[in-house]
Symmetry: C2
Amino acid sequence: MPRTKEQYEEMRRATREKIQAAAMHVFARKGFGAANVQDIAETAGISIGLMYRHYKTKEVLFRELVEFAAAGMGRAAERFESGDSPRLVISNFAGEVWRDMTSGDELANLLILMSRYAAEPAGETELIVGQNERMMNAAAGLIQRGQQLGEFRAGDPDAMTLLFFAALQGLAEMKLNMGSRFVMPSAELLTAFLFKEG
Amino acid sequence: MPRTKEQYEEMRRATREKIQAAAMHVFARKGFGAANVQDIAETAGISIGLMYRHYKTKEVLFRELVEFAAAGMGRAAERFESGDSPRLVISNFAGEVWRDMTSGDELANLLILMSRYAAEPAGETELIVGQNERMMNAAAGLIQRGQQLGEFRAGDPDAMTLLFFAALQGLAEMKLNMGSRFVMPSAELLTAFLFKEG
DNA sequence: TTTTACAATGAGTAAAAATTCATTCAAAAA
DNA sequence: TTTTTGAATGAATTTTTACTCATTGTAAAA
């Protein structure tokens, strides 16, 4: 008589997705504290009540997105931990970043979300900090190996790693702030400070 | 019979300074919307009421800090507009940035404040956007001149400028988020992608 | 010791935002 | 056409936060 279980499931899945996309957009632009649930519901095109049927609190919603972002960092770390040519791994990574940053806002949103997490809903930064540390360590190891192979410039691998990810972070922020005035630098430019010669 | 005018003035100046420093700290970490006046007053070590005697609203306080930051960008733009050797101007600038970022939080706070302004209290982004555009244009002109002189790498000057400031922006964010785990990259590393050879 | 001028306080009020819940809606099939 | 089930709504409630103001504190000098 009513809809089938599958139909209801599909309905729920669809609205969850709308909520997630809207929340990602709003949180990335305003941060956790300044974003209000009305904004999110409106952006998602649903009522506030429905949002609360899917997410007990604003914070639970935020956390889910952060966890998603952290998982992305984990995948990045794995790539850096692979035994392939450091130069190739970094170039490929930079190339993908370039494509993602050029084609839409998703990566930029994710990057900003992560950095905003540190400050906001108190405590429980471990997840993001842990994954971040893992990713940075993997990248630093890769750079060090590249230096031993003579392909990479000399310099403190930790500082070089930090600069690389800081640049990505800053580009994400600028992309959202500048809108159409933003020009994504090429993957080669992004990695130029790492490699020897040009 | 009561204190002299000068004494009262000095008292007011001192608390204003406390408020500004506290607000800079809190706004940079939380953004305008998420920062609450209680936090600011507490950080400044004064009462809420006193804060409101000095600043009519939270937004007025925020604006004053943003204007201060914008003035800093204006000074940076002037330096980029000077006719000196591009390589020298950029190197000096990077060196100063390195010193500021290494010695305290002030520059990091200012950088973050500016990027947070874009989203937050609606409208009136002109000041920050205008100064930002001026600074970026000046830097792009400098890079272009450096390319003509053969000192700088080839590449789109706008994209190179964007990357440079994005890196600063990202480093500021990381400095606040990572605390003692942060390592500031050297000025040479920061500008390595701009100059030919190493 | 008292007066004076203004800084400083913080409980109280108003406004904004998060969260709840009684009610409505919509599609499937009997 | 009616029944059924769970999604969807948004006005009402609770909580949080910005902002006010009546009162207190204090150093100088009369």
